[in-house]
Amino acid sequence: MSMTVKPYYFSDKLSNFDYLIPKSIEEAVDLLQKYKGSAKLMAGGTNIIPALRLKIFPVYPEKIINLKGIKELKYIKEESGFLKIGALTTFSEILENKIVDSTYKALTEAALTSAPPQHRNLMTIGGEVCKEPYSWYMWNPNPIARELISDPSYIANEGMNQYLSIFGGSDMGYAVNISNIAVALSALNAKIVTTQRTIPIEEFYQDKMGVTSNTILAEGEIVKEIQIPKPDKKIKQAFMRISFRKFIDESVVSSAICANMSSDTIEDVRIFLGSVDPKPIRATQAENFLKGKKLLLTLLKKHVKNLFKEQHL
């Protein structure tokens, strides 16, 4: 069988594009509308640059719209019962913030374990929640690999899938949401404010994906702010992850928990798992089991294996 495919080569050099730096959100939205389909947004660059380098998009974007000129999207503030973080706030800024550090531990831990300092200085929270899912296939420089991502025969068997455990397949195949931050924000019940609406984070991701992203953002819609309800004193929170290497690895599985505790009894709890599905998934069976129970290690040890069974669908 003879065929012609696009020539394949490796390059660290980016192919050319027009670089647009709007000064306001309105201008950014206009540009995005104007160059529909041929433009990509850039915030910190830690996702878009490697994506361009590996040419993972079916069509190499003609325009890159960098949001860095929109100064008003960089802030952390407490306001009307919410912690509000501007989309262009970097991970380093989040980690250096005293309010976040004292009240939103799950977020700090998630940010800290996301990447080494070089990357945290560039990564923004807005870029992070919109980031493309990850898989060996999707981020492969060979376009042939990327055509396979929705084929269910690639589910984990014989160790094939050991680096990305996956609970369920979807239209996207086996690419998973690797964002630690998305998991922490889900447990913290955050909302995402865009140029068009305010979306609870649980509704922000979908199983179906567009070309590479699986957020529900419409074309021309831009994330402006992340809002986290201020937890009252009864709320305990934690973020944990398992990775093969301590540093630089994506999580094999991550989990964030936000529990409303009355002494050591759990009144209400939100548990999310990350890096196992195209979106952070809610462990409802585990939540239901824990509600109203005293938090005892022996109890957890006894039941932990059954608590996530329903996720294996």
């Binding site: 069988m1 003879s2 065929m3 012609t4 495919v5 020539p7 394949y8 080569y9 490796f10 390059s11 660290d12 050099k13 980016l14 192919s15 050319n16 594009f17 027009d18 670089y19 660059g45 830690t46 640059i49 490697p50 590996l54 890159i64 960098n66 860095k68 380093s92 990447a115 080494p116 300092p117 070089q118 990357h119 200085n121 560039l122 060996w136 296939y137 981020w139 492969n140 420089p141 060979n142 376009p143 042939i144 690999a145 396979l148 084929d151 025969s153 984990a156 160790g159 094939m160 899938n161 050991q162 398992i242 093969f244 290497r245 301590k246 540093f247 630089i248 690895d249 994506e250 094999v252």
Partner: protein, 946 residues
């Protein structure tokens, strides 16, 4: 046009840039600041770290236009300001290849600016984004903390504590045979500062940093298919692009009739028949810039014929498997199929009380050194110059000159700094040589310097460790005496002619049986071996191609002990070859004490700790196996009494040069600071000396041997000259402590300089492989090649590792490691230390999480970045690494030395695997290597079911 203005290392710069230029492109290509290295596609290497407005960033992730108005600090700027970090890194005496050092220093500088009193953990976090394949992390931490102490504003007391903690991670000691034997050998009098300084300051030029004026770039088309034929290439559109100079194909007259290359000379320099995904596919484009090369490649119309492929070596042996090299073997994919035997295998099994059978599988690993080599060629008339990355320039010369039809005297191979080679740049026969030949041909055709930009090196042409499958049957007596071993082994050669699986013997390397053949006294052995082509990247040798075989040996010995309910150290000792017993016995004794074996060793699967993890402890014996290289050196004793050694060994930073410099100092009795080592380029007429091969881990032994012999020659010439000046017969004269004197009257002496001035003394020595001769002042290497059973003395090792395996996650953590090396004679302790503790990190990765995975449906490599191919980070530093060096046996080199270059990195796999076996109580026959979380969880699940 976009113009950016920014400050780089306190200097204002104004530069025209394109939107697609990164800050890294600008720093390296426009400002010539090559101390900042490529950070690779996902930025996971961290070698591109710079400081931008006070914050560390990966320069390959920042668009140049976004650097407008910023203040950038690179390694060059930090070094120019004499930051204590540079001093501390150099003084820590641990820098080897050094490709990772600028990134680490820059990351550390940002840390110290913010936090003048960091803790050990702070340093780990700050350096977590910079990988270093040589595993020198423990000393990096010490260097950063010591630098912090040198800075103003720091609290020395606080830092002292952290420094002590960091220094205690590695516990290195030498137990000498005889404290007073030598004046310099066995000391750290010489430092590696002269080699380390250029690396720590970013001045060192690696092969990728050779950006020559007027240089063109060349780039290969690569195959997206695992097996294919390029039927037709239409390059007309590509050639029309301004700045694209030529598109060379396999049919181009300059390339068409070239001789084949490769270890067995099986492979064409340029071929339209790629044998694996990522293979170079018959087309090279040449253009003014790399970006234009990409454009030209993109504009090609290529017609492919996709062929069926096979990935697994056992599948490749099946009769209906697609044939990968029908031109070599049209019947099967076997490159080599052979049997080997010793004694009577059936009689051996009859003698046994127990028969133990099983299967060990070792999966493919990637070498992945930091620095990816490239070739830059240019001509001066009929003379060819090539900048290369190599550990072995000599090996390549023949291939290059025969391809080009030029006399060897017209070839000038120039070895750039080697940024971590670890054997990977020894004999990269096909690809490295192919690049060099192609660059030379194109340079001649274009009349300009040409650099081949080869980004696919790391994942496709770097060394791959062969997949190794071994079916074993062992006969053993109840006391642990092994009577017979039958092995059927299948070794993956990949799709190429690398030599990884075929070196040493035309009929195959007899691995892993060689381990039992050479290092044990087991009387009856039978090996049925198959070396097989597959459609995967080539398998080559490097540090350490014997991982798989070492693991098979170690796993079998341990399995025998476990099944017979015996102590594995005793089983190993009982079956060891006689010549190695004294050395092995001592090594085991020290190792057991250091790891507290008697207290900690337990029945497999027997020890669940209170933290919910299984405790495991493992052992494996090992040995120094290298003895093959030959060497050629020149030795020039200058009229002022100083000495220059001219040898082939390039600077890989591991301490070979200082070790060898001790030899003239020792023999002639002069200050070692007055002995220099010139690492010559390949050219005889460049340096006026004969030059020879080096041999990876054997280098110190091989070069040292030649230098020792040269010193003896020089000594007699010096005495001869003195005898003429002193009017005395040479027989009555002696040379000692740099003086020539009559034996009866030492007070009447001439210094070496007085004896020879006004002329120099020049001698040269070429040695054959030492193992074929009885060589060395102490070596007494009196046996045929490799047959250690017949050697008089042997240098053995004992490696012990303690782990914890979490049954909930399947993750294994290395807690403590103990390595006892008999090195014969310890020449240069600081170099040995680095090879032992640094060498440990390769097996940590390779046993626990490093693995290459190919897609079964397309044959496409899936682990194409260093996030998915997981080399250890600074986070994997164990709590404690104990290294003990002993001098019991004697090796083949001068002074009885042996190589240490890859021993820990080969040997430590087995004790990790055996510790996992001990922790879980499940033999490794049930889980393939690497022992990743999912494999261990599967094995635990199956055990529970049983």
């Amino acid at each position: 046009m976009n113009i950016i203005k920014f400050t780089v290392n306190s200097k204002e710069e104004t530069i025209v840039v394109q939107p697609n230029d990164t800050l890294l492109d600008v720093l390296r290509n426009k400002l010539g600041l090559t101390g900042t290295k490529d950070g690779i596609s996902l930025g996971e290497g961290g070698w591109d770290t710079v400081i931008m407005d006070g914050k560390v960033v990966p320069a390959s992730f920042v668009l140049a236009m976004d650097a407008d108005g910023s203040n950038i600090e690179t390694i060059e700027g930090i070094a120019a300001k004499k930051h204590p970090l540079v001093k501390a890194f150099v003084e820590e005496e641990h820098i080897q290849g050094g490709y990772d050092i600028p990134g680490k220093i820059v990351a550390a500088k940002a840390l110290l600016d913010k936090n003048p009193n960091p803790t050990l953990e702070d340093v780990k976090e700050a350096l977590s984004g910079v990988l270093g394949r040589e595993g020198l992390y423990p000393k990096d931490i010490v260097a950063v903390l010591k630098a912090a102490k040198m800075c103003e504003k720091s609290d020395p007391k606080k830092l002292e504590k952290e420094i002590k903690k960091a220094e205690e991670i590695v516990d290195f000691k030498i137990e000498k045979r005889d404290e007073c034997a030598y004046q310099f050998i066995g000391t750290n009098i010489l430092t590696r500062a002269d080699q380390a300084y250029p690396k720590a300051t970013g001045q060192a030029k690696y092969s990728r940093d050779m950006i020559l004026p007027n240089m063109l770039y060349a780039k290969w088309l690569i195959s997206p298919y695992a097996h294919a034929v390029v039927k037709k290439v239409d390059a007309s559109k590509a050639k029309e692009i301004p700045g694209v100079f030529e598109v060379y194909t396999w049919e181009h007259p300059l390339f068409k009739d070239l001789p084949k290359v490769g270890w067995n000379n099986y492979y064409p320099i340029i071929t339209n028949q790629p044998k694996f995904e990522g293979d170079e596919a018959g087309v090279i484009v040449v253009a003014e810039t790399e970006e234009l090369c990409d454009k030209a490649l993109n504009a090609l119309d290529v017609e492919w014929e996709e062929l069926p492929f096979v990935l697994d070596p056992e599948d490749a042996l099946k009769p209906d498997a697609p044939k990968i090299h029908p031109e070599i073997n049209s019947n099967s994919n076997e490159l080599i199929s052979d049997t080997w035997s010793l004694g009577d295998i059936e009689a051996g099994f009859k003698e046994a009380d127990r028969i133990i059978e099983g299967k060990i599988v070792y999966r493919s690993k990637l070498h992945s050194c930091d620095d990816i080599g490239t070739a830059t060629a240019w001509w001066e008339g009929d003379h060819l110059h090539i900048w290369i990355k190599a550990q072995d320039p000599r090996w390549r010369e023949g291939k290059i000159v025969s391809a080009l039809g030029i006399p060897k005297s017209n070839l000038h191979l120039k070895v750039a700094y080697v940024g971590g080679s670890c054997g990977g740049d020894l004999m990269t026969e096909r690809s490295g040589t192919r690049d060099q030949i192609a660059a030379a041909i194109i340079s001649k055709d274009q009349q300009r310097p040409v650099q081949i930009a080869s980004r696919n090196r790391r994942y496709y042409f770097d060394y791959h460790y062969p997949v190794h499958v071994a079916y074993y049957k062992v006969g053993a007596k109840n006391d642990g005496t092994i009577t017979a071993i039958h092995l059927r082994s299948i070794v993956d050669n990949g799709g190429d002619d690398g030599g990884g699986a075929t070196f040493w013997f035309p009929k195959g390397w007899n691995m892993p049986m060689r381990y039992f053949e050479i290092f044990t006294k087991i009387p009856n052995l039978f090996h049925d071996q198959h070396i097989v082509w597959t459609n995967k990247s080539p398998m080559w040798w490097a540090r350490c191609e014997q991982d798989g075989t070492a693991w098979i040996y170690g796993a079998i010995m341990n399995r025998v002990a476990v099944d017979l309910n015996l102590d594995p150290t005793e089983v190993t000792l009982k079956n060891a070859c006689e010549s190695g017993v004294p050395s092995l016995k001592k090594a085991i004794e020290i190792g057991k004490k250091e790891i507290e074996w008697d207290k900690k060793w337990h029945k497999p699967g027997d020890k669940l700790l209170s933290n919910g993890k299984y405790h495991g402890i493992g052992f494996s014996g090992y040995w120094e196996w290298g003895a093959g290289a030959h060497a050629a050196v020149g030795l020039r004793v200058m009229e002022d009494g100083s000495v220059s050694i001219i040898g082939m060994t390039p600077d890989t930073g591991v301490g070979i040069h200082p070790a060898i410099r001790y030899i003239p100092a020792e023999v002639l009795g002069i200050d070692p600071e007055k002995v220099g080592f010139t690492a010559a380029a390949s050219q005889t007429n460049d340096v006026g000396a004969l030059l020879g091969d080096i041999g990876g881990s054997w280098t110190t032994a091989a070069d040292g041997d030649a230098v020792w012999n040269a010193c003896q020659k020089a000594k007699s010439i010096i005495i001869d000259r003195a005898s003429k000046k002193m009017m005395l017969s040479p027989e009555v004269l002696e040379l000692k402590d740099g003086k020539v004197f009559p034996k009866h009257n030492p007070k009447e002496f001439l210094t070496i300089s007085e004896a020879i001035a006004p002329y120099d003394v020049f001698v040269s020595v070429t040695t054959y492989p030492m193992s074929q001769c009885d060589y060395g002042p102490l070596g007494s290497y009196d046996c045929a090649y490799g047959h250690h059973r017949k050697r008089k003395y042997e240098c053995f090792q004992a490696h012990f590792i303690e782990v914890e395996v979490d049954p909930e996650t399947g993750l294994t953590e290395i807690k403590k490691t103990v390595h006892v090396h008999d090195v014969g004679t310890a020449m240069y302790p600081s170099g040995i230390a680095g090879q032992i503790y640094g060498g440990l990190f390769m097996p940590i990765g390779r046993t626990l999480f490093e693995e290459e995975v190919w897609d079964p449906k397309t044959g496409v490599l899936l682990t194409t970045n260093l996030k998915d191919y997981k080399v250890p980070t600074i986070g994997e530093v164990p709590d404690k690494i104990v290294a003990r060096v002993i001098e019991v046996g004697k090796g083949p080199g001068a002074y009885g030395i042996v190589g240490v270059g890859e021993d820990t990195s080969t040997a430590a796999l087995s004790p990790i695997g055996n510790a996992v076996h001990n922790a879980l109580g499940i033999a490794p026959d049930n889980y393939e290597s690497p022992f990743t979380a999912i494999r261990l969880l599967d094995a635990l699940d199956k055990k529970e079911v049983r």
